[in-house]
């Protein structure tokens, strides 16, 4: 190895050590832990794939996975559609658009716990903002988080409220679309919807793809607001909440680690699938 290469190696050494100690080693350890019966305190007993067998026969696992999948299937496209629409609306430099950009993006910088507490009030069945507005129109609002049937819609409302998080990436992508294309389309008589459909959306597909992947990962890792707010009938028991409870509520660290690996595999598979579909719908030059 040349002197220059050696110097380079030593420059990246702190990062390399961090990667080994804080990422590679815990991952290898986690594979082993997932195959043990370990209650954190005592010694871990190797039980092979028993945790994985138990997991797939557990009602709670199925339920939490179902709660999470159902949320992801609806929330991810909903968030993409909402944030893309918001981005298109505020992308033009009209009077006041800067204010709206700030307002839409603001949820992204608010802590998850604070959001959960605010929504606890917004969704309060008796004195909440939402039911207050509904009652103004003579509609009796539901019990939201206290009614199992309304827990998922409650979380979807929260998701839409926070959709501005990806606004910046969409805005940046919108700015990259050449104005000439819109000009040419207008000369050809394309109306606003046609311009969005045939120019904006296709050219935005790379960033939609990026947000789709991140959205899927985020939906499956949903934790903070679900942990704070919960939901009637365990409908707010998302996968990560279940994992956390198993690890630190019931002290089943081996089982919880197996849950974490299953989640990793699910997310990995979904990412591969989405990546495979890329060639059919993502625009590339």
């Amino acid at each position: 190895m040349k002197k220059r290469e050696k110097a380079g190696f030593f420059f990246i050494l702190p990062w390399l050590i961090g990667l080994i100690v804080f990422t590679a080693f815990p991952m290898i350890a986690a594979v082993y832990i997932s195959m043990t019966d370990w209650d954190i305190v005592g010694n871990a007993a190797f039980i092979g794939i028993n945790n994985y067998k138990m997991l797939f026969s557990s009602e709670e696992f199925i339920r939490s996975l179902w709660v999470t999948v159902r949320y992801a299937v609806i929330a991810v496209p909903l968030i993409i559609a909402t944030s893309l629409t918001m981005a298109v609306l505020v992308s033009k430099n009209r009077k006041g658009s800067g204010v709206f950009r700030v307002i839409y993006y603001m949820p992204a910088i608010v802590s998850g716990v604070a959001v959960a507490i605010v929504f606890k009030w917004i969704l309060d069945p008796s004195y909440g903002l939402l039911n207050g507005v509904l009652s103004f129109f003579g509609i009796q609002g539901p019990d939201w988080l206290y009614d199992p049937d309304w827990v998922l819609p409650s979380y979807l409302i929260m998701a839409v409220w926070g959709a501005g998080g990806s606004l910046l990436t969409y805005l940046a992508a919108l700015k990259d679309i050449p104005e000439d294309l819109y000009g040419a389309a207008m000369i050809d008589g394309a109306n606003v919807f046609q311009r969005v459909k045939y120019i904006t959306v296709p050219l935005m597909t790379p960033i939609i793809f990026y947000n789709l992947v991140l959205g899927i990962i985020g939906a499956f890792r949903k934790f903070t607001d679900a942990y704070v707010l919960g939901g009637a009938g365990k409908e707010g028991n998302f996968y990560m909440v279940y994992l956390y409870e198993e690890a630190f509520g019931h002290y089943r660290m081996g089982y919880a680690t197996a849950l974490a690996w299953v989640l990793f595999v699910i997310i990995l598979l979904l990412t591969f699938i989405v990546n495979w579909t890329k060639k059919y719908w993502v625009y590339s030059e």
């Binding site: 050494l13 954190i40 409870e245």
Partner: protein, 425 residues
């Protein structure tokens, strides 16, 4: 270069492994760490107590404070996992059996029974039982917070309803009758209720009300599906069905359930001894103030009278088992705690309650009465799993729908609990 790289990688891996395997407390050591969830003012008070204990130890030992104000149990358990357990730490009653079963705690039975400083018979029996598991003592209780009934004496008087007495032997049926006299009536421009229930008081309180229990005293028998336990939950069903408490979904609208009592929306509240309604009411404007009355929990069917008690114990790390100096420090610090918070879990100390908290003077008679029958549930290592079912599948269901078939669910949970115990390693 490959060799250098290999050496570095191996060194890093070994360092990581070594870091995970180091024990922090060893027998004979004279400096102990004490983990606490106390924060802010409470932490300052805690530190002062520890400083005083250290001073009185005359250099025999020193206790150092380790404050863990958030995610306390997550951090405690990970420290134990990393073989860096604090020497002393607080543990709430339902976790004693779990931690003892996992081998994290020192068995202090021999030292406790032989001690001339703090003896088992000095403690209230029901409170001390919370630190026992499998016939051994695993910690020293330092605080007791049993439940009693706070009531709005002004509301009772204004509405012409006779008040319960400070040591009343009223039954649950009588309690419900009193609730009926308030619920749905107007008071100070609001509809009021007899009491408020939203998961508090806990399900044990109602199960005990019928003379039943969840787990037997032996820690292996499940009695949740007994007729007595079902009758007890019948009282809860009556309260929900007759609207004697605000709807479950409505309670949080005012904030925590205690706000319903503070805002004079309910006549009676099941509160812990430590609840500071006296201070809150004194801080209210004159027209909002009301007189607080105190009564014990109603007598259970069959004559038993239990008040659910929340107790925390100070426990010692397993590595200190048999360490006489450590046990001496544990005793010294526990005794100091008795002068700090209410209620001290030892007999003949009720008068001390007023010294610690003068606002509780009017409650003294009820406190003294309640302490005699304060107890926690019989907790076993499987409690967290059983409790999950009790909460989600039973209590919340019944609170949300009074027609819920709670008896069938109690049978299901009892069968589940028995299976868990059968699988015990």
């Amino acid at each position: 270069m490959k060799k250098v790289l290999s050496v570095i990688l191996i060194t890093v891996m070994l360092a990581a492994l070594t870091g995970c395997g180091n024990a922090s407390s060893q027998s004979g050591k004279k400096t102990y760490t004490f983990a606490t969830w106390a924060a802010g003012t409470e932490l300052q008070e805690f530190q002062q107590i520890i400083d005083k204990v250290n001073e009185e130890a005359n250099g025999e030992y020193t206790i150092e404070v380790l404050s863990i104000p958030s995610d306390y149990y997550v951090k405690i358990s990970t420290k134990i996992a990393a073989k860096k357990s604090p020497d002393f730490f607080w543990l709430t009653q339902e976790l004693i059996s779990k931690y003892a079963d996992m081998g994290a705690l020192a068995d202090i039975t021999a030292q406790f029974e032989a001690s001339s400083v703090l003896k088992p018979d000095m403690f209230y029996e029901g409170v001390l039982a919370s630190a026992q598991y499998n016939g051994s003592y695993w910690g020293l209780p330092w605080i007791a917070n049993p439940m009693m009934v706070y009531y709005n004496k002004t509301m009772f008087t204004d509405m012409g309803i006779p008040c319960p007495e400070a040591t009343d032997d009223w039954t649950w049926a009588e309690f419900i009758d009193v609730c009926r006299q308030f619920s749905g009536k107007e008071y100070r421009g609001n509809t009021v209720y007899g009491t408020v229930i939203d998961g508090w008081p806990n399900i044990e309180t109602f199960i005990w009300a019928g003379g039943g229990d969840i787990i037997g005293e032996d820690g292996t028998t499940i009695v949740l599906d007994s007729e007595e336990a079902k009758n007890g939950l019948g009282y809860l069903q009556t309260i929900v069905a007759e609207g004697l408490s605000p709807r479950y979904a409505e309670v949080s609208s005012l904030g925590d359930n205690n706000v319903w009592f503070e805002k004079q929306r309910v006549a009676m509240y099941f509160g812990g001894m430590q609840d500071n309604f006296e201070i809150k009411v004194a801080a209210m404007s004159e027209d909002e103030q009301f007189e607080i009355g105190y009564a014990p929990l109603p007598v259970c069917d069959g004559g038993g009278q239990w008040s659910f008690d929340w107790t925390a114990s100070t426990v010692m790390a397993k590595s200190l088992e048999g360490d006489e100096t450590a046990y001496k420090a544990l005793e010294a610090v526990t005794q100091a705690f008795f002068e700090w918070k209410i209620a001290p879990p030892v007999k003949d100390s009720v008068e001390n309650v007023v010294n610690i908290n003068p606002t509780k003077e009017n409650a003294l008679e009820t406190i003294a009465y309640t302490m005699e029958y304060a107890r926690s549930a019989y907790y076993i290592p499987e409690w967290s799993d059983i409790n999950d079912k009790l909460w989600y599948n039973l209590y919340v269901q019944l609170l949300s729908d009074s027609n819920f078939d709670y008896k069938a669910e109690m049978d299901t949970i009892a069968a589940y609990a028995r299976e868990l115990i059968n699988q015990r390693k």
